[in-house]
């Protein structure tokens, strides 16, 4: 289904938009569930902001995540990646986690920063754009990363942060039984105070960057479309590519 985004007066028109789990995060959820199934890992989901995330979190429960929390606070309205990372830092420090998994980027912002910044704040090793994870023992993973020159094999010591790419796995479709059970599962809801912090401590009032306007992309428009005898039109187009566009 095609997603149509309308920009009006510098903002995105939200009417009629349906919110879904970020594609890359879904791969992250699947990664966690596989670690649970294969290595007995305990899994916890954290979702920040966004208003009513219940459906999305329940879907993750149905996929196999054992517990979850939703952190929402009006102070987070202008949060940037650094602020999200501070919130996640608080969550991490309040628990006893060995591995943080995030998606490589968000489908709306396409930023790809939060997981990596979190690792910096926590002083943890981090591998981004992960396409494969192998558990070596309690404290070590072997991860494959899609790099510029090929696949990078990295020995990673826990605790650590990984950000995953879509090619790491195929997220399972939640089954009916999972969805029914998920409906009864609690979601821990917290604001910043309940999390043990404050808007000031997180730096909510001063995001490092903020979106001041949205604009429609300069629509690239179609040029000429040729239909008819294949030999004729192809010859014509090649001629245009060479002599008009001058790219051949």
């Amino acid at each position: 289904m095609e997603l149509n985004i309308h920009v009006k007066d510098g903002a995105i028109v939200e009417d009629g938009l349906q919110y879904v789990i970020n594609a890359w995060d879904e791969n992250g959820v699947e990664t966690a569930v596989q670690l649970k199934e294969d290595s007995g890992a305990e899994t916890t989901l954290v979702s920040i902001g966004g208003g009513d995330n219940t459906d999305v979190i329940r879907r993750c429960y149905a996929m196999g995540i054992e517990s979850g929390m939703h952190i929402d606070d009006p102070a987070l309205e202008k949060a940037d990646a650094f602020i999200y990372a501070r919130v996640l830092q608080k969550v991490f420090e309040a628990g006893d986690y060995d591995l943080v998994i995030t998606g490589k980027q968000a489908q709306d912002t396409d930023n790809g920063q939060t997981g990596i910044i979190l690792a910096e704040y926590l002083g943890l090793p981090c591998v981004s754009n992960v396409i494969g994870i192998e558990v070596l023992d309690d404290k070590h993973l072997k991860v494959s990363r899609s790099g510029d020159a090929g696949t990078e094999i990295v020995a990673l010591e826990l605790p650590a942060v990984v950000t995953v790419d879509v090619s790491i796995n195929e997220p399972r479709l939640p089954q009916m039984r999972g969805l029914m059970m998920a409906k009864k599962k609690a979601i821990e809801k917290m604001d910043l105070t309940a999390l043990g912090t404050s808007a000031d401590e997180i730096g909510c009032a001063a995001p490092k960057s903020e979106i001041v306007a949205f604009m429609a992309t300069e629509k690239r428009s179609g040029g000429r479309k040729f239909e008819g005898d294949a030999a004729e039109i192809t010859a014509r187009v090649v001629d245009l590519l060479a002599n008009e566009a001058k790219v051949l």
């Binding site: 890359w24 899609s146 020159a149 990295v154 010591e157 001041v212 992309t217 000429r224 001629d239």
Partner: protein, 319 residues
């Protein structure tokens, strides 16, 4: 005057064009510039680094930097940024840049903007333009910090052929190794394959190819053009092409002079990966395929019929 540090993009021992492009833009907005080059055995690149147009060159050359590792590479960039007292650090678009830039930003307490297409000074602060939501919108982002780290979209800036730099080299001490994330091995892509991100011409195959024969047919076209050979996600998911060949939002972003979309319908995620191309040619059986809305030249036809003719005509023209 702003001070911009550009991180040199080096691939297989070669300095890539993005370095000169970024330096040209920095000069154009009136900044003082420096470049930082990181790797092993890169001393021979010094003339190219100077030629790229910076007034200062920082070089981190050590055997331990032969393979990419985000931690040590970020440490080198931060070292150069601090020595240069950079306001801005710009990277060309690559997987390495995306892994390193947020670390550098966190360490320098700077804002981080990925995939920017423009940067401007507005009444005492920086603003950048970047695409979002699979390239459906553009964001205008205001930077509130004194410093900014940015990863620049491929092809966003043009290189100024007149720009030349002066040699002022500072050699950086090798950074500590990352003991907790240790790069063990690099499984490289076939050495002879043309890198999609660098190719002047890219030919991509989509579901219209139907089977291995179709893929081979389009591959032959790519080879004859000495072009990069890419694919839509559908072909990668179906197992016909490796993931590193995927062009699109979840694959590679390319901006070649000529992009040929063969048997590709034009899903929005694919367009996000190639609509920065200078000229787009599309071949598709379906006259209503969305790819024709962005193609400069469109041929409605079955690729099994059209591609052999394309190859023939191209051979004629080139001889």
């Amino acid at each position: 005057m702003a001070k911009v540090l550009v991180v040199a993009e080096i691939k297989q021992g070669v300095l890539k064009g993005s370095t000169a492009e970024l330096l040209s833009k920095a000069k154009a907005i009136g900044a003082q510039t420096a470049v930082v080059a990181i790797g092993s055995d890169i001393e021979s690149l010094l003339p190219d680094l100077v030629g790229a147009g910076a007034d200062q060159q920082y070089i981190a050359d050590d055997a331990r930097l032969a393979l990419f590792s985000a931690g040590p590479f970020a440490a080198c960039v931060v070292d150069a940024a601090r020595q240069f007292d950079a306001d801005q650090v710009w990277f060309g678009f690559s997987e390495s840049s995306k892994a390193v830039a947020p670390r550098v930003a966190a360490q320098l307490d700077a804002a981080c903007a990925t995939e920017i297409t423009d940067v401007m000074f507005e009444q005492g602060h920086i603003e950048v333009i970047r695409p979002a939501i699979t390239n459906k919108v553009l964001q205008r982002v205001r930077i509130n910090t004194e410093r900014m780290v940015a990863v620049v979209r491929a092809g966003a800036f043009a290189a100024d052929p007149e720009l030349a730099g002066s040699e002022n080299v500072v050699r950086l001490a090798p950074p500590p190794a990352d003991l907790k994330a240790v790069i063990k091995e690099l499984v490289s892509e076939a050495g002879s394959e043309i890198d999609l991100a660098d190719a002047d011409i890219v030919v991509s195959v989509g579901r219209g190819a139907r089977n291995q024969d179709g893929v081979e047919l389009v591959k032959a076209l790519a080879e004859e053009l000495n072009a990069g050979f890419g694919a839509s996600r559908a072909m990668v998911d179906a197992g016909f092409m490796a993931h590193n060949k995927q062009v699109g939002q979840t694959g590679k972003i390319v901006a070649p002079t000529l992009y040929m979309a063969i048997g590709i319908s034009g899903a929005i995620q694919h367009l996000a990966g190639m609509n920065g191309s200078k000229v787009i040619l599309a071949v598709n059986k379906d006259p209503e395929a969305p790819i024709f809305n962005v193609a400069d030249y469109g041929i409605v036809g079955d690729l099994f019929e059209v591609v052999p003719i394309l190859r023939q005509e191209i051979k004629k023209i080139r001889s």
